[in-house]
Amino acid sequence: MSVIARGRGEPVNSIWLVVFAVCTYLVGYRFYGAFLAAKALTLDDTRATPAERLRDGHDFEPTSKWIVFGHHFAAIAGPGPLVGPTLAAQFGYLPGALWIVIGAVLGGAVQDFVMLFCSLRRDGKSLGQMAREEIGKVGGFIALITVLLIMIILLAVIGLVVVNALRDSPWGAFTIAATMPVAVFMGLYLRYWRPGKVLECSAVGFVMVLGALYGGKLVADSPVLAPLFTYSGLVLTGALIVYGFLASTLPVWMLLCPRDYLSTFVKLGVVLLLGLGVVLLHPTLKMPAYTRFVDGTGPIFAGKVFPFCFITIACGAVSGFHALISSGTTPKLLSKERDARGVGYGSMLLESFVAIMALIAAASLDPGVYFAVNSPAGVVGAAPAAATATITGWGFPVTPEQMNSLARDAGEKTLFARTGGAPSFALGMAKIFAGSKWSSALLSFGYHFAIMFEALFILTVMDAGTRVGRFMLQDLLGHFWPKVGETGWKPGMIGTSVLVVAAWGYFLVQGVRDPLGGINSLWSLFGISNQLLATVALCVGTTVLVKRHGAKFMWVTAGPLVWLVVVCFTAGWQKIFADAPALGFLAHANFLANGTHTASTAALIFNDRLDAAVTGVFLVLVAAILVDSMRVWVGVLSGARESRSTETPFVASVLVEEV
């Protein structure tokens, strides 16, 4: 029906995307997931899981599969599946939708499932530990370094999304600033006033955040207060850096813990709401199936649909970060091995569906509006008339009056050049709920609610990520100076926090000052690094499968691995060496060097060269782990190397009848 509608030039309803996605997930889960469980992984319910054997009432506890499913989904769902598909909508809705659905069924869900299985058979070991044991010390060390570098790029790029969403927005800035005292209040509430009442405390926190949202409107409407909460990108960047440092060094209960509970509370509610909204209201897709920008001339980020669509959408299709979750808490909760299919494979399919909903939210906007919001001023022009003329010239009509009216309805001064994906996702989501009437009150609250939700989400990832980065750095430096490795030693704690914050802060400042909006360089860097982490996970998965079955089932993980290696190395190579200044870091540096020099030219040239070097380091690290893994595979398959399993020995389960 959708093909016929397209052939007739009729608009396509988003419900077709939902039907396509859900049907593919069901077939994938029923047949491919079942095949993996039965043949490749040979899940065995008679074997006791770590939760049963090591039951301690804390981390290891046999738990109902539905509860583990919810727990795992809450852990893997982040801002990525909302932002990536929104940005990739510049290619049209079709390339992103196909990658999200097919990539998840054949790649992302397979990675999550296999990693969960590997960890399940190894007492819940982490990805790094498994890389060290299965591939070797080099592989383990590279996995550690890769994760640390990825963390730094991740924090910078999601920080940029927040900065771009809150820049010159007193409503948004006030709401997010108010979530800090709300979190401290929640911390005190939970620790001293109502200990243990986490759900109650989260609900109270949520009501307070809704109050802050309303307060944000009052602030934005006040001629006295609005200027006090109107900040430039650089001021917001400074605030984020200070926040990251405080979150990394303050006691966990004061900020990190309550923010995490609050963010999870809002996250689960909004994902449910968005799903209901998309299914019940099923807006029409206004974005074409594919746009002229598949040729690589897109304004939001440069690069052709291959490989950049597959880099831009990482979470939602294949995300290396999930491997860290699948090899963390989840395997310690599964009571039966066969539950791993629903939890590992099934949760990723649900995450993929969240990405489809984000794509629908972006594609249901007028394309002219979508490009006006997401295109940096450096590409389309800073003046509204120039920007709309450029975008209309591309075949996506939009007028300054239309954008002004929309900004007024959304309670913002302007919606031009709000790069980063968050504002256009928020606008699309608000528009779905406001319906065709465009009720301005509903639209403005919906827009700022979505901004608050995304920023809350992202700040939680940032404060937790900074702390994790600090621990990793302490571990790493502890090898050379043992005192630094002691987590309780304050100078070490503060010093490593400063180093981690300075590292992601540097890239964040670079993105904020970038005349092309920052997303062009940083999001692709993040996408490449996240997919490279997935290649590390798939290397471990393939090694385990080769040791178990020889070459018979290695295609299960080697297939997505080959695809990701081709995508990442093509994208990485193009980002470093492409001739077009909009795409290649080095070409852009040369372009700047040969042009008119301003005060910031030298810094911009240095940043381009640094980005090229970081991309190169990523590629070298992953090439090294790939070669190391291939050495193991060839050795095992040729019989030259012992196929030693690191699985824990079989212990019969007594829970099988019980559960």
């Binding site: 009432g57 804390h58 109902s64 509860i67 620790r191 999930h322 990832v461 990520g465 994790v468």
Partner: protein, 59 residues
């Protein structure tokens, strides 16, 4: 139908209890054979977050 609804709600409450650490706290009280108190919650919460804070949140 009512039974199905009850089962569904039990699962929802179970997920929320697990996600928000309330089940883990109940298990902690059982394993250690202690009663709920503010001090016990703080002991549990500090130990739990010592591990949780070392794990990254997914992007």
């Amino acid at each position: 139908m009512l039974a199905l609804w009850r089962r569904f709600m039990r699962i929802v409450v179970g997920i929320l209890d697990e996600v928000f650490d309330q089940s883990a706290y109940r298990r902690h009280l059982e394993v250690h054979g202690v009663e709920h108190s503010g001090a016990e919650w703080r002991r549990f919460s500090d130990a739990r977050w010592e591990g949780k804070a070392r794990r990254g949140r997914c992007c």
